[in-house]
Symmetry: C2
Subunit: 485 residues, 2 copies
């Protein structure tokens, strides 16, 4: 999308809460001073909207504006305590299917950290709409809570390809994928498998997989080894906040939420209400977010000019209170003026990347994205609440179900087998997973068989959760328990 | 448990794989030189056991030994590729219900890092048997994987109290609790709530909650602010590997897995086969793990003597290849001899803590640990696989179920409402969560009502997962979706 002066680009502008209006205002002034013609549509979201009684924190007018403009620049939004159950920031990401969260992390001139001089310059590419972040939770028993971690192969392909494409667009050379596939072979494993499957399509990029805990270790020990890191949503949440601390904190952490239709650009930091309106805050994160936005919109020259001006300003020692101390920092307005004054100057010691248009991945849109040649239902996990011991429960279930098509294979407590007895010291509570397997193999359970089993169990026990055990193309679609054969 | 020379303490010793025997051998020599009488029972686990065909990697003799001795010191275990589905390390932790993983992270003399001189000295206390680490996973559709994150209130109370007790035993002053309770209010929220409930019982300890991503940020930015950090299993996995990098890596990272019956002491590092048998590795992590073990066994003086000797040795510049480079490091044997030679000397510049016996938390053993006064089943989430659009599926389900006791409230895709239509751009696949709510309120669904609904749905659609929606003491036992009223 390349705009011309006669056809100003329309962008939704959400000033946000606390220090948001000051950050967003600084970015807007700099963009305009750089000669980019943008028609801003100013919209509301956040604290005031929650207080008016809208539980999403995002009014319909704002949704309508972004649906039309397809691009938003926003300040931080606050979810006031007692209003709303979901963060308005997350709501916006999910409503517009901005599946990629992009967080560049780069050493900045004048911002001294324990890592200064090592040239940290990496980009965290985090899946943004799936995973535990969906917040799908159930109290299974009064004392056992469950959250669902859902990871799709399609979502994984989108974020994996996005990571490679992003690396290409910035002329980067390496892409790492961080997952916990060694423990969660099916869910986290999906991203690992898909990443390794698509990697050969990007032969100029070096790629590898790293276990997420080791990735955290390596980010602290030798962060300069990383270039682009692709990861799942919850892991990415932790890794990206870790990374932004390496370069001096959230005041320098821009971000983009990019989907195939809409992109939303925002700082990572919060609304910091105690600094609001005092002309003391560091607007760099939103300014650098707007640089990402300009590149997304095709204004490559102007984006580079602003990035140069920011680096020249920092090199000259003009720094805000978060870096120098709030009694000694340059006021927000003066800092912004300095950047505007430096437009046209070029940093000699810091590299500003030559960025090419980002190719968004095109993925098969069909809902049945993975199509196995064969499949069957081979059993059922029934989650039972019971005050009994595992042995008592096991005996009872075996008696109740002995003449059905299924037999009780084992009972586990939080993933460890407790029936048949193992001799281990596993503590059990009132929450048991009871695994029933079809007696005749190969076979395929019908829903009638399932209902029959549930009716039997219901005569004596209370269940709250059921999972069908499936096979796809002869491979188990479920994991075995600790201690299960 | 205080042993006397006439009654040697029996400890299970698992040398483990790769560099394991060298590390464990060094620790054993030092313990013996410090005058502690231990009768070691050497047992197998790990790579060779997997290769013999035992899928757990832990033979019955080893389990029997630990069940009897109740204490083990072990080297790293390897899970050879293609053998076993579970790590033998995790198996041991789960079999013996060692619910607390303790990982001290402390600046070491002579080990230069970007944080040197800042006095990092913290302990990560990680829940060790629950959470996503159970690896309970299902392919829900051919392209959508699910992992279950299970967190119990009892498990949370155990780890929260353990954290406070551990802080007390070491004379520490602060305990932080790191969770993602803002996104996962029921599961991660359980640990936060329990932590805040038990904190007043430890009035001499300062305590606070920190969101896990901010905790990662703070650990990089200002690690010296932390003393003890209590966290859930998966988060703790990442945070503890992050932390060990702050002080120079895994060669200095001891750990203890402590339960109310058994404790297993081990280094955090892997088996590093390429360095095995070369007399070049750093055994400090296992040595410091054995210091934790000696304190657990009541040998406080000898533990302090070894810790002093390790610090004196490092202060004198005797350092292994992982720190100095493998061409210049002190051989493992010489390093061990140096520590033995320094037994009796005391470091003047580094503080060795005066540790008191750890009081393990005593928790109500009843299985129905939380007992609500009232409860009811108010609905059902049915997870459906369908190639239809959300609107088509919604219309069909409404028609199929209109004369049951339940009505379709909404359909969501990965946690975002997609029916009734919201106008948002949410992409759907073949995996839908269909939320049915009881029509007559207040009410309580019977299993008969549930079966009736499932029979109706099964006539036209395929489901793979069901969750009952419960209320406990008038509070919803489930979360609302993004976009759900």
């Amino acid at each position: 999308m390349i705009a011309t002066p006669s056809d100003p680009t329309v962008v939704t502008l959400i000033p946000g809460d606390g220090i948001g209006p000051e950050c967003v205002g600084a970015a807007r002034r700099i963009i305009e001073a750089a000669g980019v013609q943008i028609a801003w549509e100013e919209c509301e979201a956040g604290a005031e909207v929650f207080r008016k009684g809208l539980p999403s924190g995002v009014p319909p007018e704002t949704i309508e504006s972004i649906s039309r403009t397809r691009v938003a620049l926003k300040g931080p939004l606050e979810t006031p305590v007692g209003f709303g159950e979901k963060s308005a920031n997350v709501t916006l990401r999910k409503l517009f299917e901005t599946y990629a969260n992009v967080r560049p992390v780069r050493e900045m001139p004048g911002v001294t950290t324990p890592y200064s001089g090592r040239g940290i310059d990496l980009v965290m590419v985090r899946e943004n709409v799936e995973d535990l972040y969906a917040g799908i939770e159930y109290l299974q028993t009064p004392g056992v809570a469950q959250a669902l971690k859902l990871i799709s192969e399609k979502g994984s392909e989108k974020i994996a390809r996005f990571g490679f494409e992003y690396a290409r667009s910035e002329g980067r050379t390496k892409v790492a994928c961080a997952t916990k596939a060694n423990i969660m072979k099916l869910s986290e494993g999906t991203l690992k498998r898909v990443f390794e499957r698509v990697a050969p399509e990007y032969p100029e990029l070096e790629s590898w997989h790293v276990i997420v805990d080791n990735c955290a270790h390596q980010l602290v020990k030798r962060p300069e080894q990383f270039d682009v890191i692709v990861t799942t949503n919850m892991n990415g949440d932790i890794l990206s906040d870790l990374s932004s601390a390496l370069i001096g904190g959230l005041g320098f952490a821009p971000s983009a939420n990019v989907g195939n239709e809409v992109a939303i650009f925002e700082a990572v930091h919060g609304s910091a209400p105690k600094y609001a309106g005092k002309d003391v805050i560091n607007p760099t994160a939103v300014i650098l977010s707007s640089v990402l936005m300009l590149r997304y919109l095709g204004f490559f020259e102007q984006a580079a000019a602003i990035e140069h001006a920011v680096f020249v300003t920092l090199e000259s020692g003009v720094l805000t209170g978060d870096v120098l101390g709030y009694d000694r920092g340059t006021p927000t307005t003066d800092y912004t003026n300095a950047i505007i004054g430096n437009l046209g100057k070029r940093t000699e010691t810091w590299t500003i990347r030559d960025v090419r248009p980002l190719q968004l991945p095109k993925i098969d849109p069909r809902p049945d994205y993975v199509r196995p040649a064969s499949r069957s239902v081979v059993g059922l996990d029934v989650f039972v609440e019971s005050p009994l011991s595992a042995s008592e429960l096991g005996s009872s279930l075996m008696e109740l179900t002995h003449d059905t098509k299924l037999s009780l294979k084992m009972i586990s407590s939080r993933g460890t087998k407790v029936f048949p007895p193992t001799g281990a010291m596993t503590e059990t509570g009132d929450h048991f997973r009871c695994r029933f397997i079809i007696k005749e193999e190969p076979g395929d359970l019908s829903d009638g068989d399932v209902h029959e089993l549930l009716v039997r169990i219901s005569t004596a026990h209370s269940w709250m959760h059921i999972e069908k055990l499936q096979e796809f193309d002869g491979e188990l679609g479920f994991t075995r328990d600790q201690g299960e054969d």
